[in-house]
């Protein structure tokens, strides 16, 4: 060859395998610490699925760290070993190698396998987030500028800036933003210790599912979508109570028997339901309600839910004390209207139904549920 | 002939002395590049329309029934028969434009003029039809509902393209009168035809999405 001064080394370089071993050992040690320590987050895991998500973090950390060590390690090694020495002539050139099919094959296949493994692992964790099991406590969190409010079933008014949940009770949390009348802006709901987050988008309901496992608090509820000048100050506190403490707190908030899930106005409708006749109710239902409500299972939503089995419907969200809605709840909703995670319904005056009509309709619904 | 080649082969004020063959190659290769550039431009324009069509379909997917409800009343569908008529006006102009170019290629300048004029008239007719449609579409106006928003924005953009097309064709026609093109050097006309066909095809999509679908 013309270039007399070309480096013509066949070996991979002095101490190549030593360096390789070093990189692998370092990666192994690092991975060990990733798993032994709280890395990378180190915050307490106060609810399912925090442990699963952390296990994904650790796995990603170990794999990613190893890749990073390999790249960085070899780059530094090559840079030192193959640097141009003072002694080398100005037109010294490197080993003229263009490619190496075997090498390229392997460094395409191995990452592909890694990606597949990571994708599968992530998918498994992901599916564990999707499970709808339990669904015992169904509640809403609503973002405002700049505070959070929380609606509990059977609670007349929303609670501001304080979220309590009983330990070991699966929670289905529907988050949204901006009740009518407020300027619509995005917010975010994030409890770092739970590792879960959902954007609160006006006109859209996102759902988080978790099961508190550790009594404790206060924890931060953080807004994670820009929502205006004071976005940085938007916080609420999150508590996990024992069932007894929770009930105590709940009672203090005025939680009493009454409204259905989603929290319409509390207490009793004060309508004499005894006089209602199902037949009259049926005709009324066809005229007034059938546009929005089907007469089959609760889950069969037209505009509102299906009311066919409302008083005996497994699909109906249970309440905090897992009691099913009573005829009076239905009457109350017809009277006062309803605003909640499953939609909205105008009140009796808007629907132009008298108390007597309500009594008939309730009778009709009861008769449906009996079938 | 040579004027055309110089117009096309070279930037303004370019002084070489070329023999004709060299000049022809220059013309062919520059035309080649301009054609590719123009087609790529059309592609990116397709993306512009596709993005708005995506927006339209997305918004349409967020409501239970279409047309959506505005202040308690469901909005009416658009005037299909008139749209059929107007579409045919536009498609017809596409065919006439095609014939205009064909005749130019074969040196039949008279028939070229006829078809060119015909195309422009049809284009103007279509725009007038759009105006009529706009004044009669009772869908709550541009800013009333998502229906008005997507319909007036998309067809408005298309109408703007048609308007530009009419102006463009008029300029091309004028250029032919200036002996700007000849039977073998007519890239401008090719571009104009492609653009006009493109506008037609966009309308095919819009017609389906707003009137049929």
């Amino acid at each position: 060859m013309a270039h007399q001064v070309a480096k013509t080394k066949v070996s991979l370089g002095p101490g190549f395998w030593l360096v390789t071993a070093g990189i692998l050992i370092a990666s192994a040690i690092m991975s060990y610490f990733v798993y032994a320590s709280g890395w990378p987050i180190g915050l307490p895991q106060i609810a399912e699925p925090a442990p699963e998500i952390d296990s994904l973090f650790k796995f990603l950390g170990a794999v990613g760290g190893t890749i990073f060590n390999i790249v960085t390690g070899y780059i530094i090694y090559f840079a030192i070993v193959f640097r141009r020495k003072k002694s080398d002539p100005p037109d010294a050139i490197g080993v003229q190698v263009h490619d190496n099919p075997v090498l390229e094959f392997w460094w395409t296949v191995i990452p592909t396998v890694l990606v597949v493994i990571l994708a599968i692992f992530s998918t498994v964790i992901w599916s564990s987030l999707q499970n709808t099991a339990g669904d015992v406590l169904t509640m809403e969190a609503i973002g405002h500028q700049y505070y959070f409010s929380f609606r509990y079933p059977k609670l007349a008014n929303p609670v501001n800036n304080e979220m309590h949940v009983p330990v070991n009770v699966p929670v289905t949390l529907h988050v949204t933003s901006a009740e009518p009348g407020e300027p619509p802006v995005d917010h975010g709901f994030w409890v770092p210790e739970v590792r879960l987050k959902a954007d609160m988008v006006p006109g859209l309901i996102n759902t988080l599912r978790f099961t508190p496992t550790q009594i404790g608090g206060p924890y931060r509820i953080i807004c994670t979508e820009f929502c205006g000048a004071l976005h940085g100050t938007m916080r609420a506190t999150f508590y996990i109570d024992s069932q007894k403490d929770f009930d105590k707190w709940f009672a203090k908030q005025g939680g009493t028997g009454g409204a259905a899930s989603g929290g319409a106005a509390g207490a009793s409708s004060g309508i004499a339901l005894a006089g209602g006749t199902a037949a009259a109710g049926a005709t009324l239902f066809a005229a007034k309600c059938s546009a929005c409500h089907a007469t089959d299972a609760f889950s069969d939503k037209k505009v509102g839910p299906g009311l066919g089995k409302i008083f005996a419907d497994p699909g109906h969200p249970k309440l905090v004390d897992s009691s099913a809605p009573t005829p009076d709840d239905a009457a109350l909703i017809m009277k006062k209207g309803f605003t909640g995670d499953i939609g909205q319904m105008p009140d009796a005056t808007t629907n132009q139904i008298s108390d007597g009509d309500i009594a008939n309709l309730v009778a009709y619904l009861v008769s449906l549920s009996k079938k | 002939m040579t004027t055309a080649a110089v117009e096309h082969g070279h930037g303004p004020g370019d002084e070489h002395d070329h023999d004709d063959g060299h000049e022809e190659v220059i013309y062919r290769e520059t035309t080649d590049m301009r054609l590719l550039g123009f087609v790529l431009f059309l592609c990116s324009d397709v993306v512009l329309f596709s993005a708005f069509i995506f927006a339209y379909l997305y918004l349409r997917g967020t409501v239970d029934e279409w047309p959506p409800i505005l202040n308690g009343h469901q909005l009416p569908r658009l005037d299909l028969p008139f749209a059929e008529f107007n579409s045919i006006v536009l498609f017809g102009s596409g065919v006439t434009m095609h014939h205009a170019l064909e005749n130019w290629k074969h040196g039949k300048v008279g028939r070229f003029d006829f078809f060119m004029g015909f195309t422009i008239v049809l284009g103007v007719m279509f725009l007038g039809g759009q105006g009529y449609e706009y004044s009669h579409a009772a869908i709550g106006g541009w800013s009333g509902s998502i229906f008005g928003a997507s319909f007036f924005t998309l067809t408005g953009m298309h109408g703007f393209h048609v308007f530009c097309g009419v102006v463009y064709l008029a300029i091309l026609w004028w250029q032919t009168k200036q002996k700007h093109y000849d039977q073998t050097h007519y890239f401008g006309l090719t571009a104009g035809t492609l653009y006009w066909h493109f506008v037609d095809v966009i309308w095919v999509a819009l017609f389906f999405l707003f009137y049929i679908f």
């Binding site: 060859m1 013309a2 070309a6 987050i41 699925p49 998500i53 994904l56 990603l60 760290g65 890749i67 990073f68 960085t72 193959f82 640097r83 100005p90 050139i93 490197g94 080993v95 003229q96 190698v97 263009h98 490619d99 190496n100 390229e104 395409t108 990452p111 990606v115 992530s122 992901w126 987030l129 619509p184 770092p192 959902a198 954007d199 988008v201 931060r220 953080i222 994670t224 979508e225 820009f226 000048a229 940085g232 | 070279h10 004020g13 370019d14 060299h22 220059i26 520059t30 590049m33 301009r34 990116s44 993306v47 512009l48 708005f52 995506f54 997305y58 918004l59 800013s143 509902s145 008005g148």
Partner: protein, 566 residues
């Protein structure tokens, strides 16, 4: 391939010889020139200016975050970081990588005398400064404050500045679309005779992929911006939920552009690295085809992953999976590139010029950015990281540690070609080291801040994060200071940098075969290309190259094609 032999007979391409006369008179020569080199210089100067401004805005951000209560008023702070982000993306990095480097280097590397449509090029540039000025002027009207993503509905309630933001970005969008079309035609139609696709330098491959992305994706952004503008100014309901619109629609349309935009910003940097590493390790690039095709693969995959920015926004859960998996797939072509660059270093004769140091720094920081990217791609992990400083750290690792490091490498590499003078090596090496250290100290802690619960876009934060924020801020001041080093270096090279000569680095791509700075017509005679570049062992694969005297003799004797003129 050992010896350069013509495998294709070079066809004569008269159009390549076609030249528009050199303009006389200052205006036509330097202000409204159609010469791709002049336009590239204009991009460099303008984008550099905006880089300084946006950098100062960044320092304002860090000053605010020195105290957990914030130093600036929240309103000002929100405007500052929003404009910082928008400027860095649209007025600095994108113009730098495709406008400046693309314009200057790409035509030279394919042996063309100019781009396909010089006038279009001129028009595209002159949309750029006005856009920047409009964006800056928006401060007078209440600048955009919802971040560079400007999510509605809040951006619908912002003052008029946000509409100006729409206009500015729209202009930039048109500009880069035109540039994309221009570059594609140039690369397809104006390559020197014999330069087949597999003989193109890798920066040209990267430019082609970028141009394609610019051409296709940017118009989608234009649509989104147009809709936002119409809704803000005329109340046309697209995004406002109270009028039936959907905020999520904006996120889809925005990210359909803005994820490919990440590759618009990084692919040319990949190209620069692929030029710098072979030159300074005196080796052929390892796995040329794999690197070239992976650029295209990344560009294509980049269109199918946009919704991974929206995992928490509320889309159908099952949709999260395909987007997660395709996102993860992008790691494969990227990994191939990284490994190929490592293998290029192996067995080389590595010269630690500033360009090379920045390239090495790029490999390390970008790898880290890629790893954290994987963290974000996995949906369950993203549920914790989304909207936190983890994301801020990640994007700065890929955009600063990726694109900007690439830009620095390219600047040091092509500066002699652009100005005809050398920079100060020693100072440049110091610059590389200081930047690398300060960069990592600035952005690495952000990852942990985010994981521990610090959300992004906040003017004030929980007190327990104050210490690390102060560390970050102080390091960021050093990072800013490091920028002064390259500015000083440029001034130094203008004053007393020694003449560069045509090929100071002994590189082998076409731009180094002509004098520096290149003459108006680039090539006296358009050369024919006989083989791929980067074969340092072989004679130069160019014939008919009638360059300046003393530039290059492509004889079997000269092993590297390196001849010290002067």
């Amino acid at each position: 391939m050992a010896v350069a032999t013509p495998t294709t007979t070079p066809i004569p391409r008269p159009v390549l010889d076609h030249i528009h006369p050199e303009p006389t008179g200052f205006i036509r020569k330097y202000i409204f020139s159609i010469d791709h080199k002049i336009i590239a210089y204009q991009y460099f100067i303008t984008a550099g200016l905006f880089f300084v401004i946006a950098g100062l805005l960044a320092e304002m951000i860090r000053i605010d975050l020195l105290k957990h209560t914030g130093v600036l008023t929240p309103n000002v702070y929100n405007q500052v970081y929003s404009v910082h982000g928008s400027m860095m993306v649209w007025l600095v990095i994108i113009p730098f990588v495709s406008g400046a480097f693309g314009n200057f280097v790409m035509p030279l590397q394919i042996g063309a005398r100019d781009v396909a449509f010089p006038w279009l090029n001129l028009a595209a540039f002159w949309m750029f400064p006005p856009a920047g000025l409009i964006l800056l002027a928006s401060f007078a009207f209440g600048a955009p404050d919802a971040g560079w993503t400007e999510y509605p509905p809040i951006s619908l309630q912002a003052p008029f500045g946000t509409s100006m933001w729409c206009i500015a970005i729209f202009l930039i969008g048109i500009s880069s679309t035109l540039t994309g079309i221009n570059f594609l035609v140039t690369i397809f139609k104006m390559r020197a005779p014999g330069m087949t696709f597999t003989r193109m330098p890798l920066f040209v491959w990267a430019s082609a992929a970028t141009a394609g992305l610019n051409m296709v994706a940017t118009t989608a952004l234009a649509a989104a911006l147009l809709a936002l503008f119409l809704e803000r100014q005329f109340g046309v309901p697209f995004y406002n939920p109270t009028k039936g619109g959907s905020p999520i629609l904006w996120q889809h349309m925005f990210w359909f552009y803005s994820h490919p935009a990440v590759y618009i910003m990084i692919l040319p940097a990949f190209g620069i690295i692929s030029e710098v590493l072979p030159t300074f390790s005196r080796k052929p690039i390892f796995g040329y085809k794999m690197i070239a095709f992976s650029s295209v693969a990344i560009a294509l995959l980049g269109f199918m992953v946009w919704a991974h920015h929206m995992f928490t926004s509320g889309m159908a859960p099952w949709l999260q999976l395909p987007f997660m998996i395709i996102t993860m797939l992008i790691a494969i072509p990227t990994g191939i590139k990284i490994f190929s660059w490592m293998a290029t270093l192996w067995g080389g004769s590595i010269e630690f010029s500033p360009a090379c140091l920045f390239a090495l720094g790029f490999l390390i920081t970008f790898t880290l950015g890629g790893v954290t990217g994987f963290f974000l791609a996995a949906v369950p992990a993203d549920l914790h990281e989304h909207g936190t400083y983890f994301v801020v750290g990640h994007i700065h690792y890929v955009l600063y540690g990726g694109s900007v490091f690439g830009i620095y490498a390219g600047l040091y590499y092509w500066w002699p070609k652009m100005t005809g003078r050398m920079m100060n090596e020693r100072l440049g090496q110091w610059h590389a080291w200081v930047t690398f250290v300060a960069f990592n100290c600035t952005f690495l802690p952000m990852h942990w801040l985010g994981l521990l619960g610090m959300p992004r876009r906040v003017a004030m934060y929980d007190v327990e994060f104050e210490f690390w924020n102060q560390v970050v801020s102080i390091c960021s001041f050093f990072l800013a200071a490091s920028t002064l080093m390259i500015m000083g270096n440029m001034l130094w090279s203008f004053k007393n940098g020694k003449k560069a000569g045509p090929n100071p680095w002994g590189a082998r791509t076409l731009e180094w075969m002509i004098s520096s700075p290149p003459p108006y017509y680039n090539f006296k005679k358009v050369p024919a290309v006989l083989a791929a570049p980067y074969d340092f062992g072989n004679p130069l694969p160019y014939i008919g190259l009638d360059a300046e005297p003393g530039a290059v003799e492509a004889t079997p004797q000269s092993t590297t094609g390196l001849v010290h003129a002067h």
